[in-house]
């Protein structure tokens, strides 16, 4: 089979920095090739360079052949003609890729207007056709709506529709499912598979091996700008040669079930908790009991009310009905001033660690603040305490004088964990703590949380949309849908025999490593 895209010895640098170094691979017509790697591995830069979007500061060497055109030496004009018509692009930020002020239909019609001579009416028909082909329900209605009226999954479908509007021969998809729920991800992957079957070649960029293994026939593993391994999907997954690839495969969550510690006394008890926002019921009569040393996983898609449940548990929202007790004492039913003294006993870790830090403060100040209330009155937090705290979460003491924003995502989350354990809490509410992290970093952070739980007898309320992650960490499980708990039980029991159809759908949608 002839190659549609041939990348040879591609290097991309930004000033003194080399982002991509000597990368070669090719994509046969109608095939799907995936580039896998963590953030900063150069996979997105590679994709953008192929599109001629590396930016003015970039120095590009090597060659990129598309059909018989050399893209590295093409004029911007020629590249513009190719982009959209022959090469479609689905960018990482599906949620922001669409113009918020224009309707989805307009957005998709744009490439038709630029590259074809269709009349407005024909364009309109083609837009509806396209939306249908990407599985958009009610395409007529959706075409006239603006992006903010669409859910994340529908927006991603709209982006894909605009990328395939002109039947490109190559579709470049950069992390097309990263921001999406499991069932939505499954839908998008099915859609991409359909496109591939219709003959569109796909270059898939992802950090998620499980996603990649469903679609790609070839895998290119990148790390720090270099290709460390490449080959057929089967070969790479079954017989990984490079240690980094083995690490990535081992890090895919969902492998080992959690072995919990024996349950102690109840620490948090929620009874019939309900929360409404306007007429919408976000959390509907939810009850649960969290025991010492245990992890209660809460799984659901976005909008299922799991984050609201976390906020209710932290008493950041007041329930409209029902109540939550902490160590058998009223927690949500009392005014804030009666809670403040007990707040150090229940901590929190957030999905976006960085925004939970005061941007002016260094790691040292953040942690000293967190240690403050736990330390006896009038005693200053010592350097030794700070050092032992950061070392406990696997960081080096040299992060102390730095600002969190210069740290990596994994390091930021470790600082957040250090802050959460500093006041010696009994419970930590973890709201999607690893969702923003690369898989291998995710595994490290989960291992850290597990170790801390054993050491301090912590209880976790663990909110996530990722079933693989939840299986790895939780003893018990709540499955939420539209604010209601549809299924609950011991984690392994739920995984072995899901009773509710929604749980079954969720489980079926989990991307698994297919070898």
């Amino acid at each position: 089979m002839t190659s549609l895209l041939t990348v040879q010895n591609l290097s991309v640098g930004f000033g003194p920095l080399t982002a991509v170094s000597d990368v070669s691979f090719d994509i046969p017509a109608g095939a799907c090739v995936a580039i896998v790697g963590e953030s900063g591995s150069g996979k997105s830069v590679t994709a953008r360079t192929i599109l001629g979007l590396a930016g003015r500061d970039a120095t590009v060497s090597g060659s990129i052949g598309f059909d018989d055109t050399d893209l590295t030496h093409s004029s911007p004009r020629r590249l513009r003609a190719l982009r959209g018509r022959d090469i479609g692009f689905v960018s990482q930020g599906a949620l922001v890729a669409l113009d918020p002020l224009r309707t989805v239909g307009h957005e998709i019609a744009d490439s038709l207007r630029v590259h074809t001579k269709l009349s407005p009416r024909q364009r309109q028909e083609r837009v509806i056709e396209l939306l249908e082909s990407v599985g958009m329900p009610e395409p007529m209605l959706r075409a006239s709506q603006r992006p903010d009226q669409l859910s994340g999954g529908l927006r991603q479908r709209a982006v894909i529709a605009s990328a395939i509007a002109l039947n490109p021969r190559l579709l470049i998809a950069d992390e097309p499912t990263t921001a999406l729920d499991a069932t939505v991800t499954a839908g998008i992957l099915d859609l991409l598979a359909t496109l591939r079957e219709r003959g569109t070649a796909i270059l898939l960029i992802s950090h998620d091996l499980a996603v990649v293994s469903r679609l790609a026939s070839h895998i290119v593993v990148m790390r720090a700008g270099v290709v460390v391994e490449s080959g057929s999907t089967q070969q790479v997954l079954r017989e990984p040669r490079h240690p980094y690839t083995r690490e990535l495969i081992a890090a895919v969550p969902g492998g080992l079930p959690h072995t919990g510690s024996p349950a102690g006394e109840p620490v948090v008890t929620a009874t019939g908790v309900t929360k409404r926002f306007g007429s919408r019921v976000a959390v509907d009569e939810v009850s649960y009991e969290l025991r010492r040393g245990r992890t209660l996983g809460v799984v659901g898609e976005s909008g299922s009310g799991k984050t609201t449940l976390a906020r209710l548990t932290l008493a950041l929202e007041r329930p409209d009905a029902g109540s939550i007790e902490l160590f058998g004492e009223p927690w949500t039913a009392v005014p804030e001033r009666d809670r403040t003294a007990r707040r150090p006993r229940i901590g929190a870790i957030y999905q976006d660690a960085l925004s939970s830090f005061d941007p002016r403060l260094t790691v040292r100040q953040i942690l000293a603040d967190a240690l403050g209330p736990a330390a006896e009155l009038g005693r200053r937090v010592t350097e030794a305490e700070l050092v032992s705290l950061v070392e406990r979460v696997g960081l080096n003491a040299n992060v102390l004088p730095r600002h969190p924003r210069v740290l990596s995502g994994g390091q930021q989350q470790r600082v957040a964990i250090a802050r959460a354990i500093a006041p010696r809490p009994d419970v930590i509410v973890c709201d999607e703590p690893v969702s923003n992290l690369d898989v291998s970093v995710q595994a490290q952070v989960l291992a850290l949380l597990d170790g801390l739980q054993r050491e301090f007898g912590l209880s976790y309320l663990f909110i996530t949309h990722d079933l693989g992650v939840v299986r790895q960490v939780s003893d018990e499980l709540l499955v939420m849908k539209d604010g209601v708990v549809v299924e609950r039980g011991e984690t392994e029991a739920v995984f072995a025999e899901p009773r509710h159809p929604f749980t079954r759908a969720l489980l079926a949608a989990v991307p698994k490593l297919r070898r």
């Binding site: 932290l314 950041l316 403040t340 003294a341 007990r342 707040r343 150090p344 229940i346 901590g347 929190a348 957030y350 976006d352 925004s355 939970s356 830090f357 005061d358 941007p359 002016r360 603040d369 967190a370 209330p373 802050r419 006041p423």
Partner: protein
């Protein structure tokens, strides 16, 4: 901050600050000493900016006038920002009715052109350096107040304030440790931008004879005194005017430079 505009404005601001603190370093003469024989001399080596109708050296007067102008500018900005912080915090942190009331009040004040508002104040309390300074401060407060309120509203909802609450920190700690410093960051920029503006306004009031009055060496007053001779002796108005423009431009450019730096 390698941009030439920022470097130049920094140099100008530095020069004016030195003139304000230690005018004798730059111009050792007496700004009020009259030499009737030397009146209306054009700029020369001996009198770089010329002399005025009483033979006073214009350069010396401008350097000595910097103190008054800068002091008026800083005091007025401080008054404006101080009031604005009170209003902004009341509106941003208080209950909803207080926010509503304060915001509407600021909007009413905002509806007056600033200078008109200052004039109104002077009409009531009489002209003079102090009243004109207070007047300028009052006139600038509503604008700052609105900015501070919106900043407080943003910071108040920031996840890190919630994180501090979750850690069990009281309201006082959260406001003083997190909210105020994060609001203050943008205030610093605002203040730098505001000083130049206040100097222009205070000079305008002096020019109208409502602030400092001749023979005081204040830029606006000098401008006003030189107005009579504008067609024959240009240097009497040109140099005070130049310094007002330079100060305003330099502080504004510096403020913008700071703003960009804060943003990145």
């Amino acid at each position: 901050m390698r941009r030439p505009s920022v470097v130049v404005s920094l140099a100008i601001v530095l020069f004016i600050v030195i003139a304000a603190i230690a005018p004798n370093l730059l111009a050792p003469g007496d700004p009020l000493a009259i030499h009737p024989g030397d009146s209306f001399l054009p700029p020369s080596l001996g009198h770089p900016f010329g002399t005025d109708e009483s033979g006073r050296d214009v350069y010396t007067r401008i350097i000595h006038g910097a103190g008054a102008s800068v002091l008026i500018g800083i005091t007025a900005t401080a008054i404006g920002l101080g009031l604005a912080i009170v209003f902004g915090l009341l509106a941003g942190l208080g209950p909803r009715w207080l926010d509503f009331g304060t915001t509407r009040f600021l909007e009413v004040l905002f509806a007056f052109p600033g200078l008109l508002f200052a004039l109104l104040f002077i009409v009531i309390y009489g002209p003079g350096v102090l009243t004109s300074t207070i007047a300028v401060g009052l006139a600038t407060a509503p604008g700052y107040g609105r900015i501070i309120r919106s900043r407080v509203l943003v910071v108040r909802r920031a996840p890190y304030l919630e994180a501090s609450l979750v850690l069990g920190r009281g309201r006082f700690f959260r406001v003083t440790r997190h909210l105020l410093p994060n609001v203050a960051g943008s205030l610093f920029v605002l203040a730098t931008l505001g000083i130049g503006q206040s100097i222009v306004w205070a000079s305008s009031l002096s020019y109208l004879g409502l602030g400092a009055v001749p023979p005081a060496a204040e830029w606006g007053a000098m401008l006003s005194a030189g107005r009579t001779y504008i067609s024959s002796f240009w240097w009497l108005t040109f140099f005070p005017g130049l310094f007002i423009v330079l100060t305003a431009a330099a502080t504004t450019l510096l403020g913008r430079g700071l703003q960009e730096r804060v943003r990145s």
